[in-house]
C-alpha cells in the first residue's frame, strides 16, 4: 500500500512482472502505461545520464539508489536528444531539486517527455527478484490497477532476446563533431545508440568525429577516409545485428583501426567469430571491477549490458585479420569485458570494450582507452605514410 495514501495529489500506480509478481506504488512523471524489459541499475549517481542513454531503449529501469531526483535535471548532462528508458522505477522521489546547475525537476522532465515513472516501490525486493529470476518483461501503469489484467498486457509485449532495435535509435543524417583544437585524426563513428560523451571524449583528443547512421555502407564509410572506425553502444540483441557485423568485417579487411564500446564490443566479437549470449540479469552500474589483462590493472567501470561475448579467456584465436583475444575481464564473474586484435608482432590493430570508458555516468578510470585508440590510429598513419614514402 502506498504510504502517501492520503496525500491527494498522489496517483496510485502498479508494476507487474511477467512472472506475476506485482508491486504497488505511486505515479510520477507521465501517467499512462509503459512496458519493457525490467533491469536494475546500481549507480548511486547519474540518473540523468542513465535515462538518456539509448542503450536503455525499451527497458524499464529500476534504480537501486533509494533517493532519485535530488539534483533535478539540467541542460548539460543529457547523453542524447531524449530519454530512452521505457519506464522508471524508484523508491523515494525527491520533492525538491538542489543543485546550482539544475534547470527543472526530474518529475517535470519525465512528464515533458511522456515517460512513466513509479515511486515508493521496494526496489530492493524487486532487484533481488530480478537477480534470482533474471531480467524479464514488466509493465507499469497508472490506468490499469488490476495486476491480472496488467499481466496479460505484459505477456503480449516482445521480449528483449532477438530484438533488433538499432533502427529505432540511430540518427537519420550524419553529424560531425569537430575536433577540439587542431584536428589530428578523423573517425567514423557508427551510431548504434551512441552517447554524447563518446564523441566528446574523442574530440578532446583532436579527433573529428563523423557520427553516421547504422545503415551506412562500407563505400560511404571509405569516402570519408577515416583514420579509425568506431562502433557505439546500443540496445537490443547483438545476435540480430548482422548488417553492422558485416560492415565491421569490411572495415577490418581494409585494415582500418577499430574501437568499439558495448554493443560495438559484441559486434566485434561476432565479427571475429565469437558468439554472444544473454546474461541472466546483466551488468548495470558504475562500480564494476574490470581487469586489463595486458597491464594487470583494475579499473572501476561503468557498465550497462545485458548480453556478453562468449570467448575463451585463456587463449588467442587466429582470425583472417590477426590474433584475437580477450583483453578485459569483469572480476565479479569473469564475463568478457574487452577484445583485441593484434598482428603477428603483437601490435594492436583493433579493440573494443564491453563497458563504458566515456563514463557518463560513471568513473573515468578507463579514459585511457581513447588514448589507446589514438595511438593505434597514429601508428597506422605513420606506417602508411612510411610505406608511401618508401
Amino acid at each position: 500500500m502506498p504510504s502517501g495514501f492520503f496525500d491527494h495529489e498522489q496517483t496510485p500506480a502498479l508494476l507487474v512482472l511477467e512472472d506475476g509478481r506485482s508491486f504497488r506504488g505511486v505515479s510520477f512523471g507521465a501517467t499512462g502505461e509503459a512496458f519493457g524489459e525490467a533491469v536494475f541499475s546500481t549507480g548511486m549517481s547519474g540518473y540523468q545520464e542513465t535515462l538518456t542513454d539509448p542503450s536503455y531503449h525499451r527497458q524499464v529501469v529500476v534504480a537501486t539508489a533509494p533517493h532519485i531526483g535530488n539534483t533535478g535535471w539540467n541542460d548539460e548532462d543529457d547523453e542524447s536528444s531524449r530519454i530512452w528508458v521505457a519506464g522508471y522505477v524508484v523508491r523515494d522521489l525527491s520533492r525538491v531539486r538542489s543543485n546550482w546547475r539544475s534547470n527543472r525537476s526530474l518529475d517535470e522532465e519525465l512528464r515533458n517527455q511522456g515517460v512513466v515513472g513509479i515511486a515508493e516501490i521496494d526496489t530492493r525486493a524487486l532487484t533481488r527478484h530480478l537477480r534470482e529470476r533474471g531480467a524479464m518483461r514488466v509493465g507499469i501503469s497508472t490506468v490499469e490497477l488490476d495486476p491480472a489484467k496488467l499481466l496479460d498486457k505484459v505477456l503480449q509485449t516482445p521480449s528483449m532476446a532477438g530484438s533488433d532495435l538499432v533502427a529505432d535509435v540511430t540518427l537519420a543524417e550524419p553529424e560531425v563533431v569537430p575536433a577540439v583544437g587542431n584536428k589530428q585524426l578523423t573517425v567514423a563513428a557508427i551510431d548504434l545508440g551512441i552517447k554524447d560523451m563518446t564523441p566528446t571524449r574523442m574530440a578532446e583528443r583532436g579527433i573529428e568525429v563523423h557520427v553516421l547512421p547504422a545503415s551506412v555502407s562500407l563505400d560511404e564509410l571509405r569516402e570519408l577516409a577515416p583514420d579509425g572506425v568506431f562502433f557505439s553502444n546500443g540496445p537490443g540483441d547483438p545476435a540480430t545485428a548482422d548488417a553492422p557485423m558485416e560492415l565491421l568485417q569490411g572495415v577490418l579487411d581494409q585494415g582500418i583501426p577499430y574501437f568499439g564500446i558495448c554493443f560495438g564490443n559484441q559486434i566485434f566479437g561476432r565479427a571475429l567469430g565469437f558468439g554472444t549470449y544473454k546474461l541472466k540479469y546483466g551488468h548495470r552500474g558504475i562500480n564494476q571491477p574490470v581487469k586489463d589483462l595486458r597491464t594487470g590493472k583494475v579499473e572501476i567501470t561503468a557498465q550497462n549490458h545485458g548480453f556478453a561475448v562468449d570467448a575463451p579467456l585463456d587463449r588467442a584465436q587466429l582470425t583472417p585479420w590477426g590474433h584475437a583475444r580477450v583483453s578485459h575481464v569483469c572480476l565479479n564473474d569473469d564475463v568478457v569485458e574487452g577484445l583485441e586484435l593484434t598482428d603477428d608482432d603483437g601490435n594492436l590493430l583493433a579493440f573494443s570494450v564491453q563497458y563504458h570508458p566515456e563514463a557518463a555516468a560513471g568513473p573515468h578510470d578507463s579514459a585511457y582507452l581513447f588514448d589507446r585508440f589514438v595511438d593505434v590510429m597514429q601508428r597506422r598513419k605513420r606506417s602508411t605514410t612510411d610505406a608511401q614514402e618508401n
Binding site: 546500481t42 525538491v96 543543485n99 521496494d122 532487484t127 583494475v298 572501476i300 570467448a311 573515468h364
Partner: protein, 1142 residues
C-alpha cells in the same frame, strides 16, 4: 601479487586512551588489522596503553604490550622484539605521530624497521599543510579544478597577524599535526585570532598553524579512498555532511552516500581524490579526503587528507560493509585489491552469474577491487556531553567536541535520521512534536543560525512554526535538499497528529519517515505501549534488509541487517538457538568502549558454545558492530521499540535462548524490565534483581540483613526533605538522582544553600524520581570490585584500590590492582560482603560493588549487577576473561564448570597473592582541553563525583611506583623527573601534603607555593619560593603570579587541591585559573594528595631509570606457571589456609 614474504613480524601501534577525536574506532581498525596479519601468518607485536580495547586482548597478538605510546617505550619494544615492519596507519593520529617520531629519531633506521602502509614521506606530505597545498595545486585533473583555500603557514603570532592582514576576516586557524582539530577554530576578529592561534601554536608539536580564508557555509564532503601497491584505487564511500562547512566533521550529522551531487560533480571529486592519494604517495592503504563545494557555483576546495584510517573510515566500513582497516592491512602486506575477496559476497557456494558452458571458469567470490554501492541511506549523529561541562560553550566549530556517535541505516534519509537521533539516547536529540511552538519564528531562525548541539531541533521547530525552506537555508546554509527532508518529517508529524484515526496507512507513513512509537504517542496523546499495540495489531512492522556492498546485485552471505518499513524481509531461518546481545550505544562519558568489550567477549565465547550470537548496537566505532564479531548483526537503535522488533524477527527465524542486557552498561539495563514484560527472555541477573540493586530501600534491607554498613542516606522527594535528611546525617553529603551511570548529576554539597541550589538546578525531583542524599565519607579509601556469581559460588575477579579518596567518581579515579594498602583480612571481608550482596540481589553473571574503607569500617557505596567499566582492566590485570565467564554463567554454566575448563582460576580467585603477577594501575584521561566557556576560558578541571573522563590507560610493572609512572606517561605524556613544582593546597590538605612535597624537594625539585601553603612548608623545613595569587596581581618587585610563572614555563609540575568550602573572597577562582593555565601550557596538574603521593613514587621510580617493557603474554605465562606450581604442590589448596600460612 601475493603477500610479502620478506617480512615476518609486524609492530602494530594502537591509539591509546579514548579521547575526544580519537575513540574506539581505532580499536575496531586495530583489532581487524591484528586479526588479518595473524591469519596471514605474521608475528604481530602490539603496543597500546588502553586496556579497555579488544585489540589488547592477548589472543589478538603474539606479543601485547600495554605500555605508553611514547617513542622511548616504543623503542624498547622494538629493541626487544626486532619487528621487520611497523604499521602505524590504523592507530589514529597517535600512532602516526609515534611513527613520525621514531622515524625522525632514527630508531626505525637503527633497527631496520620498515614503515608499511604509508611511508614517512607520504605522512609528511599528507600532514604538512604547506606540502599538501603544493600537491593539490599541482594536480592535473581534466574537468576538475581543485583548489585549496588561500592560506598562510605561521610559526609565530607575528606571522599570524600578517596573514590576517592579507586574507581578511573571518579566518580559520588549523594547527599542524593535531588530531580532532585540537587548537583550531574560527576567528572573526583580532581578539579571537590571538586566542585561537595561541592555543593552536602550542597544541601543534611543530608550533605551526595554518591561517586560512573562510569557506563557512559551503557544502562539505568526504571520500574514503583505498590504494594497493599495483596502483589500483577505489573509492569506498562518499559522505556528505548535513552541517555545512564550519562544524568539525566529527560533530556534524553526516550522510552516506553523498545526496546532492550530480554524477559529473561526484566523478570530478572522485578523480581529485584518486589523484591526491597517488600524489601524496599512500602506497598501500586507506586515506580520507575532505572537500568543500561552493553551493552557488560548484567551486571545489580540498580541505585536508589523512594518510591513515580514520573515524570516518570506521563509519564508511560500517556504512558500506567494506572493511577498510582489514583491507588496508592486507594491502599493506602486499596483496592487491583484486586478490582480496569481498567477505560479504564471498561465502557463496555458486557463482553469482551463470555463464554458458565453456564461456568462463566459475567464480566463487567477488573481489575487494570494487566500489560499494548502497541501496539505503546511512546517517551518523554526534553524541555530545555538554551536560557534563555545564559551563562549556556549546557552539560547534572546527574543534571537535562530541564524545561519541550513533549511526543508523534506513531505506531513506528520514527513516535513517529518525533512527540515528533516537539511537543517541538523548531526549533532547529527538524531534519534539508535542504542543504548539511558542517561540517566534525570528528567534528560532536566529538561534538556528548558530551551529550547536540543539540546532536540528530548532530547524524542526522553525518549520513547525511556519518557517520556509528559504528562511532556514538563509539561517543555516544546510542544503535545501536536507531542509526539505526535515520539512517532510514535520509535515508527516502533522498528518499523524491530525489524522482522524491511527490507521495502518497513517502508521506506515510515520514509520517510513522515521517517527518512533514514542513520538507518535506524544502526537496522539497516547501511551507508547498503546501505539505499539495498535501498530502490531494492524500488522505494521519493519522488515530487515541486508547491508551487502552491492545493492543486491549479488547474494550476500553476511547477515548484517537493518530495519526498514518496506515490503520484503531478508532474515534467514536458523536452527541453532540465538542469544541476543544488546550493546551499549554511542560512546559517552561514563559509558564507552569498556562495555563494548564485554559485549564482544560474550559474542565470541557464546558462538563457540553452540549459540548463534546476535548483536544489536548502533555505535559505528565499535568492534561489536563489525560483522565479523557475531553471527548476526543488527545495526539498530537500542530503544524498546527497536529491540522488540529485532527480537520478533529473530524469534520468527528460530529458537531464542535469551537476551543479554547486563554487558552493555545502563543502556540495555534500563530496557530489561520492559523487555521482560513484553515476554522477552532475559538471561542472567533478572530485571527484578537489577531493580533491587538500584532501589535504595530494598538494597538497604539486603545490607542490613547481612550486617553490612552503608553511609547514612535518605531519599528526598522535595527540597525540604533533602534539607531534613542532610541535617540528620550531617554535611558534607553526596546528592544524586536515582538511576545514574557515570555519576550523572551527582555532587558533593557542603551546606544548605548549595543543597537547595542543586535540587533546583539539577533534578526533576518527584515522588517517582527521588533524589538520594548520602553521607559523604571524607578521606575514605574507595574500593571497587568486579565479581562473578552463579547462584551459589562467588568468584572475586579483582579488588581495586582507588588512588584518589572517595568522592572522586570511580571512573575518574586512578586505581591499583592488586590493592596497594589493603591486607588479606580486608580482602576476605570484601569477598564475604560481595558474596552476601550477590546472593541477596540474585546475581547471575557479573556484579560490580564500590566500597569505602574509613578507619576500620567497610561501607558499601553501591552495587551494580552488570558488567562494569573495569571489567577489561581487571581481566587484563589478572589474566582472566571475566566477560566471557559472565556470558557463560548467564547461559547456565557454573563457576565450577568455568574453573574446570580453564576459563577461571582453580583453587584461587582474582585476588590471589602471586609473586609473578604484575601490579596494574589504571588512570583516567580527561577531556578538559576540549571545552571552553562562552567567554573563552577553559572549563575547570576539578574532579568530583560526576564522571568526566573519556578514557583510560593501564600501567603494568612489578612495583606500584613504576606502574603508576607508566600510567601517567601513557595518559599525560612525560612525567617530570626534575625541575620545579608549584604547590597550592586547601587547608584540610596541608598536613598530608607536607611529606610528599618535602620528598620532591629532597629529589631536587624547586618548590614554589602561594603564601599560605609556603608558610606551612617552611615550618617543615622545605625551601619555598612564593608566587603571588592571580587576584593579587604581579608584585611591585617583579614577583610573578602563579599563572605568569606557568605561562613562562617556570613550572614543571602543579599540585593544587580544590577548596572544599568557599569562604569569602574568591579562592576557588584562583585554583581554577591555575588549572586552566596548566591545560593551556600542558603542565601536569595533580589535584589530590593521594595523587601526589603516587606521583612522587612514580618520579622516584623514573629517576632510578631502567624502565622495562613486557608483553601480557609473558606476565601470563609466569602467572600460570606459578598457579600450576601451587596446584602441583598442594593439590587443591584452600585459599584461606594458604593465605594464613603465607
Amino acid at each position: 601479487m601475493p603477500k610479502r614474504t620478506d617480512i615476518s613480524s609486524i609492530l602494530v601501534v594502537g591509539s591509546g586512551p579514548i579521547v575526544i577525536g580519537q575513540a574506539c574506532e581505532f580499536d575496531y581498525s586495530g583489532t581487524q588489522a591484528c586479526r588479518v596479519l595473524r591469519e596471514e601468518g605474521y608475528r604481530v607485536i602490539l603496543v597500546n596503553s588502553n586496556p579497555a580495547t579488544i585489540m589488547t586482548d592477548p589472543e589478538f597478538a603474539d606479543a601485547t604490550y600495554i605500555e605508553p605510546i611514547q617513542p622511548e617505550f616504543l623503542e624498547k619494544v622494538i629493541a626487544a622484539e626486532r619487528p621487520d615492519a611497523l604499521l602505524a596507519t590504523l592507530g589514529g593520529q597517535t600512532a602516526l605521530n609515534a611513527a613520525v617520531a621514531l622515524s625522525e629519531r632514527g630508531v626505525l633506521e637503527k633497527y631496520g624497521v620498515e614503515l608499511i602502509g604509508a611511508s614517512f614521506e607520504a605522512i609528511q606530505k599528507g600532514e604538512d599543510r604547506e606540502k599538501f597545498k603544493e600537491i593539490v595545486e599541482a594536480l592535473n585533473v581534466p574537468g576538475a579544478n581543485p583548489e585549496v583555500a588561500r592560506s598562510h603557514i605561521c610559526h609565530s603570532m607575528a606571522d599570524v597577524l600578517a596573514a590576517a592582514d592579507d586574507l581578511g576576516y573571518p579566518l580559520v586557524v588549523r594547527p599542524s599535526f593535531t588530531m580532532g582539530g585540537v587548537g583550531s577554530g574560527f576567528a572573526h576578529d583580532e581578539d579571537e585570532l590571538l586566542r585561537i592561534a595561541g592555543t593552536g601554536l602550542s597544541a601543534s608539536p611543530v608550533t605551526e598553524v595554518l591561517i586560512e580564508e573562510s569557506i563557512l557555509g559551503w557544502k562539505e564532503y568526504e571520500l574514503e579512498v583505498m590504494r594497493d601497491k599495483a596502483d589500483n584505487v577505489v573509492i569506498v564511500c562518499s559522505i556528505e555532511n548535513l552541517d555545512p562547512m564550519g562544524v568539525h566533521t566529527g560533530d556534524s550529522i553526516t550522510v552516506a552516500p553523498a545526496m546532492t551531487l550530480t554524477d559529473r560533480e561526484y566523478q570530478a571529486m572522485r578523480d581529485v581524490g584518486i589523484a591526491i592519494i597517488r600524489a601524496v604517495g599512500v602506497d598501500t592503504g586507506g586515506c580520507n579526503i575532505q572537500f568543500a563545494i561552493n553551493p552557488d557555483n560548484g567551486r571545489m576546495i580540498v580541505i585536508e587528507m589523512n594518510p591513515r584510517v580514520s573515524r570516518s573510515s570506521a563509519l564508511a566500513s560500517k556504512a558500506t560493509g567494506f572493511p577498510i582497516a582489514k583491507i588496508a592491512a592486507k594491502v599493506a602486506v602486499g596483496y592487491t585489491l583484486d586478490e582480496i575477496p569481498n567477505d560479504i559476497t564471498s561465502h557463496g557456494g555458486r557463482p553469482p552469474v551463470d555463464p554458458p558452458d565453456g564461456a568462463s571458469r566459475p567464480q566463487f567470490w567477488t573481489p575487494a577491487s570494487f566500489e560499494p554501492t548502497l541501496d539505503y541511506v546511512v546517517v551518523k549523529c554526534p553524541r555530545f556531553a555538554f551536560e557534563k561541562f555545564p559551563t562549556a560553550e556549546n557552539t560547534l566549530t572546527t574543534h571537535m567536541k562530541s564524545v561519541g556517535e550513533a549511526m543508523a541505516i534506513g531505506r531513506n534519509f528520514t527513516e535513517a535520521l529518525g533512527k540515528a537521533l533516537r539511537s543517541l539516547e538523548d531526549p533532547k536529540a529527538t524531534f519534539d512534536f508535542s504542543g504548539e511552538v511558542t517561540e517566534p519564528l525570528g528567534e528560532l531562525l536566529a538561534a538556528a543560525s548558530r551551529p550547536h548541539d540543539g540546532r536540528l531541533g530548532l530547524v524542526m521547530k522553525a518549520f513547525r512554526a511556519g518557517g520556509t525552506a528559504e528562511q532556514l537555508f538563509e539561517a543555516t546554509k544546510i542544503d535545501p535538499w536536507f531542509l526539505d527532508q526535515l520539512q517532510l518529517i514535520a509535515e508527516v508529524a502533522e498528518q499523524v497528529r491530525t489524522a482522524p484515526e491511527l490507521t495502518a496507512d497513517v502508521l506506515r507513513l510515520a514509520k517510513r519517515h522515521g517517527i518512533s512509537d514514542e513520538q507518535i504517542a506524544k502526537l496522539r496523546h497516547l501511551s507508547t505501549d498503546v501505539v505499539r499495540g495498535v501498530r502490531w495489531a494492524l500488522g505494521v512492522r519493519p522488515v530487515f534488509k541486508t547491508v551487502d556492498t552491492c545493492a543486491a546485485e549479488f547474494a550476500a552471505k553476511t547477515p548484517y541487517h537493518y530495519s526498514s518499513y518496506d515490503e520484503e524481509t531478508e532474515v534467514a531461518p536458523r536452527t541453532k538457538p540465538a542469544v541476543l546481545i544488546l550493546g551499549s550505544g554511542p560512546n559517552r562519558i561514563g559509558q564507552g568502549i569498556e562495555f563494548d568489550y564485554s559485549c564482544v567477549h560474550a559474542a565470541l565465547t557464546l558462538s563457540q558454545y553452540g549459540y548463534e550470537t546476535v548483536m544489536v548496537n548502533c555505535n559505528p566505532e565499535t568492534v561489536s558492530t563489525d560483522y565479523d564479531t557475531s553471527d548476526r548483526l543488527y545495526f539498530e537503535p537500542l530503544t524498546l521499540e527497536d529491540v522488540l522488533e529485532v527480537y520478533h524477527a529473530e524469534a520468527a527465524a528460530g529458537p531464542v535462548a535469551g537476551v543479554i542486557v547486563q554487558l552493555g552498561g545502563q543502556t540495555p539495563l534500563k530496557l530489561a524490565q520492559a523487555l521482560k514484560d513484553a515476554g522477552v527472555p532475559i538471561v542472567g541477573t533478572s530485571p527484578e534483581a537489577i531493580h533491587l540493586a538500584e532501589e535504595r530501600g530494598a538494597f538497604g534491607q539486603i545490607l542490613t540483613d547481612n550486617g553490612l554498613a552503608a553511609p547514612q542516606y535518605g531519599m528526598a522527594t522535595s527540597a525540604a526533605d533533602a534539607l531534613e535528611i542532610a541535617h540528620e546525617i550531617g554535611y558534607p553529603v553526596l546528592v544524586r538522582p536515582s538511576y545514574v551511570l557515570g555519576g550523572r548529576g551527582m555532587e558533593i554539597v557542603y551546606d544548605d544553600s548549595s543543597l537547595v541550589g542543586y535540587i533546583e538546578r539539577a533534578t526533576h525531583i518527584t515522588p517517582n524520581s527521588p533524589v538520594l542524599v548520602d553521607r559523604f565519607l571524607d578521606d575514605a579509601i574507595e574500593i571497587d570490585v568486579d565479581a562473578l556469581f552463579d547462584g551459589t559460588e562467588l568468584y572475586l575477579g579483582g579488588v581495586m584500590e582507588h588512588i584518589e579518596e572517595a568522592g572522586i567518581h570511580s571512573g575518574d579515579s586512578a586505581c591499583a590492582l592488586p590493592p596497594i594498602t589493603l591486607g588479606n583480612e580486608t580482602i576476605d571481608r570484601i569477598r564475604a560482603a560481595t558474596t552476601s550482596i550477590a546472593r541477596g540481589v540474585g546475581v547471575r553473571g557479573l556484579i560490580n560493588i564500590q566500597f569505602a574503607l574509613l578507619g576500620d569500617v567497610l561501607y558499601v557505596l553501591e552495587a551494580n549487577p552488570r558488567a562494569s567499566r573495569t571489567v577489561p582492566f581487571v581481566s587484563k590485570a589478572t589474566d582472566t576473561q571475566l566477560a566471557k565467564a559472565a556470558a557463560r554463567i548467564m547461559l547456565g554454566a557454573t563457576i565450577a564448570d568455568l574453573r574446570a575448563d580453564g576459563t577461571l582460576r582453580t583453587g584461587v580467585d582474582g585476588t590471589a597473592n602471586l609473586e609473578a603477577a604484575p601490579l596494574a594501575v589504571k588512570e583516567a584521561v580527561m577531556p578538559f582541553n576540549r571545552f571552553r566557556t562562552a567567554d573563552g576560558a577553559w572549563v575547570d578541571t576539578l574532579l568530583g563525583p560526576e564522571m568526566k573522563s573519556t578514557g583510560e590507560v593501564m600501567g603494568l610493572d612489578k612495583t606500584f611506583g613504576v606502574a603508576f609512572a607508566k600510567s601517567q606517561t601513557a595518559s599525560y605524556g612525560d612525567v617530570p623527573t626534575e625541575g620545579s613544582v608549584f604547590v597550592s593546597v586547601a587547608n584540610r590538605d596541608k598536613r598530608h601534603a607536607i611529606f610528599p612535597v618535602k620528598r620532591l624537594a629532597d629529589l631536587g625539585f624547586r618548590v614554589y607555593a602561594t603564601e599560605g601553603t609556603a608558610q606551612v612548608l617552611r615550618r617543615n623545613d622545605v625551601d619555598v619560593t612564593v608566587l603571588r595569587k592571580e587576584t593579587q596581581g604581579p608584585g611591585a618587585d617583579g614577583t610573578k603570579t602563579v599563572v605568569q610563572a606557568i605561562m613562562d614555563g617556570d613550572i614543571s609540575l602543579i599540585f593544587n587541591t580544590p577548596l572544599g568550602v568557599t569562604e569569602g573572597g574568591d579562592p576557588r577562582r584562583d585554583g581554577w585559573q591555575i588549572r586552566s593555565a596548566a591545560i593551556l601550557c600542558d603542565v601536569p596538574c595533580v589535584t589530590t594528595v593521594a595523587g601526589l603521593s603516587a606521583a612522587v613514587q612514580g618520579i622516584e621510580a623514573l629517576r632510578k631509570g631502567g624502565l622495562t617493557v613486557r608483553p601480557l603474554q609473558d606476565w601470563s605465562a609466569d602467572v600460570r606457571a606459578e598457579l600450576a606450581g601451587r596446584d602441583d604442590a598442594a593439590g587443591q589448596p584452600d585459599e584461606h589456609e594458604e593465605r594464613a600460612s603465607a
